[in-house]
Amino acid sequence: MSESLKDKLSGLVFLAFSIFIYAASYSIRTTKADSLGPQFFPRMVAVIMGILAVIQVVTAFTRKDKSIKESESKVFAINWPLILSIALLIAYCYFLKEVGFIVLTTIYLFCQIYLLFPKGSFANKKLLLISVIASLVVPAGIYYLFYYGFQIFLPAGILG
């Protein structure tokens, strides 16, 4: 995606968002005591945001892109490490209560470390070993540190 297309697109998203805020302000209950009411400020912000979003889109249209052909071929390549990292994070929130902090964080750590290292890094046995040790030691360490040291009780899940 070219820079100007990105700018146009994001401008439009902001415009839609500002309309959404304005529209949603109608469902706020109002009082008589406060003449301006709780809907005044959101509406004001929505209007300013809308104006800025229009400026953003218009300037993106008037500006000419210098590098049109740059990295065109990359557009449709799916970025797996990114998508898997996001999926990993969402799955983490979803299962935390059931599975518990220690087990789930161990899984998370190892997968995330794997997703960050350049492909083939784990051929280096030392690196693999450090990653495994870190994934095993850190979650349990954190759990007990907060449990005994700070009285913060993280979800125990299947180990609890």
């Binding site: 968002f17 400026i55 490490p81 898997l84 929130c93 690196l127 850190v138 993280l154």
Partner: protein
């Protein structure tokens, strides 16, 4: 005298000193590792302070901040990669010296002048902040509204990228603050029927998500384009040093570079939104321009280290002045400090200077002590810190996230907050992709309730008229500066295009 009280307050419990030492060392380590910063250190350490007493907790966070800002020079000098954005300029000459095998000398100088910059700003802070606090105490809603407006405008306009994007990001942050209960009327807004949203978004998961989680996603997205060789960096063998590596004569000549640099750092730090990142580059440029031997800059002169390192540490004091007196955080790290204050039941702002007087001076004292301990611990720890650089970010960053899970969870003791953190992490990643700066969003989110309250109070008082904003001399001054900042930014953006 009140400052002495503050020292007594901090020193009365020796544990606090130990905490400051731990905080400094932790901060230095985080600052030294490229990709991690004072902010990441604060994000990890924040949940640790939940169980501490206010003075201890705040002193600890303060020392993490001081250490985090200072640590950047270690990797800047050894690797030529700034450990934090506030040590970019330190690379220019610092790494040149390291290539000659004089890394320890360079680090000694960087450390010494980080300390001097920090102490300078600490002294100015403890004298200036109470005065500004007194003035701010007399602010009516009109003045308060305009000063917040000014802060939001500067953060947005001076952030990286276009001004419109900065402002949009800021307004997005402002609108996120609508969710939850309206402070003035006690009605809920924008919760869409979800009871979990009734208390609004908590600041800690929002901050951690936007900055730490988005960092992991950014690094993951670059995985396919980096090779194993690129990911590994080399360290050159270095000469040992004695003392700080400079003679007394050199020290005094360096001091002449350090003083203007510290002033630049302090002033830039006071302005919200720019802080250490810009301060170190500005101070470097200034030192080069005013130097008698500008040709030495970039080829390994100690003055090229003295200027940026004095400036970035001095900017910390500047940022704290505004945070403490007006309750306005300038960047992500100070936002985190502010979150820490709130957790310990302290509301930064002018009232801090009238209500909790002893506490404010304890904060000043902690800041000064943190700087002193930083100097000592870093001096003895330098060889160790240099070793830490061989730790891999790929392993450390997920560990940071593991701590962030805890930080978010414990901010309200529910899993929902981790969801909030992840959601904002994804949002932050997308915004970075689309070149929207994140700092304005956070500052917008934090200041929005204050802005709304003051704006509505003002208009209630004036029965809907905007006139008092123009008739109050202080308010009108802030408005004029706000407009000037906007015009100046538009002008310089147009100039750049041509």
């Amino acid at each position: 005298m009140l400052l002495l009280e503050g020292f007594k307050n901090v020193l009365s419990q020796p544990v606090t000193l130990l905490l400051i030492l731990i905080g400094d060392v932790a901060g230095l380590i985080f600052g030294a590792i490229p990709g991690l910063s004072a902010f990441t250190a604060l994000a990890i350490m924040l949940p640790l302070t939940f169980a501490m007493q206010p003075v201890m907790g705040i002193s600890f966070l303060m020392s993490v901040y001081v250490g985090g800002v200072s640590g950047g020079f270690i990797s800047a000098i050894l690797l030529g990669i700034p450990g934090t954005p506030s040590s970019i300029a330190t690379c220019f000459d610092g790494h040149e010296l390291a290539k000659r095998g004089e890394a320890y000398r360079a680090m000694g100088v960087a450390l010494l002048f980080s300390f001097i910059g920090g102490i300078f700003s600490a002294v100015i802070m403890s004298t200036l902040a109470p005065l500004i606090g007194q003035v701010a105490l007399r602010f009516s809603p009109y003045e308060y509204t305009t000063v917040i407006l000014l802060a939001l405008t500067t953060v947005s306009a001076l952030a990286e990228g276009s001004m419109v994007k900065g402002l949009l990001s800021c307004l997005l942050g402002v609108s996120l603050s609508f969710v939850g209960i309206d402070r003035l009327s006690a009605y809920t807004r924008y919760t869409f029927g979800y009871s979990s949203l009734r208390s609004g978004f908590a600041i800690v998961p929002l901050l951690i998500g936007l900055f730490a989680v988005s960092q992991v996603l950014t690094n993951a997205s670059k995985r396919n384009s980096t090779t194993i060789e690129e990911a590994e960096h080399q360290i050159v063998a270095q000469k040992k040093m004695r003392g700080f590596g400079i003679s007394i004569k050199e020290f005094f000549s360096a001091l002449k570079t350090s003083i203007p640099a510290s002033i630049i750092g302090l002033v830039v730090g006071i302005l919200p939104g720019i802080g250490g990142n810009i301060a170190n580059l500005m101070a470097y440029t200034f030192a080069k321009k005013t130097s008698k031997t500008p040709e030495e800059f970039g080829h390994g002169t100690i003055h090229g280290i003295v200027a940026p390192e004095s400036a970035n540490n001095a900017s910390v004091g500047g940022a704290l002045i505004i945070l403490l007196t007006l309750g306005i955080p300038g960047d992500n790290a100070t936002s985190m400090i502010m979150a820490g204050f709130q957790i310990h039941g302290i509301a930064p702002g002018p009232l801090l200077f009238s209500s909790g007087n002893t506490l404010v001076y304890a904060i000043f004292a902690a800041f000064i002590i943190a700087n002193i301990i930083m100097l000592v611990s870093a001096y003895f720890g330098l060889p160790l810190f240099s070793k830490i650089l061989s730790l891999r970010t790929e392993i450390l960053l997920p560990i940071v996230i593991a701590f962030c899970f805890v930080g978010s969870f414990s901010s309200n003791n529910r899993v929902f907050e981790i969801g909030v953190m992840v959601a904002f992490g994804i949002l932050g990643f997308i915004m970075k992709r689309y070149k929207y700066p994140l700092a304005p969003m956070v500052v917008g989110f934090i200041l929005a309730p204050m802005l709304e309250e003051n704006l509505r109070r003002s208009l209630m008082r004036s029965k809907g008229s905007f006139e008092p904003f123009v008739t109050s001399p202080i308010a009108v001054t802030f408005l004029v500066i706000t407009v000037a900042v906007l015009l100046f930014t538009v002008y310089s953006e147009f100039k750049k295009k041509d």
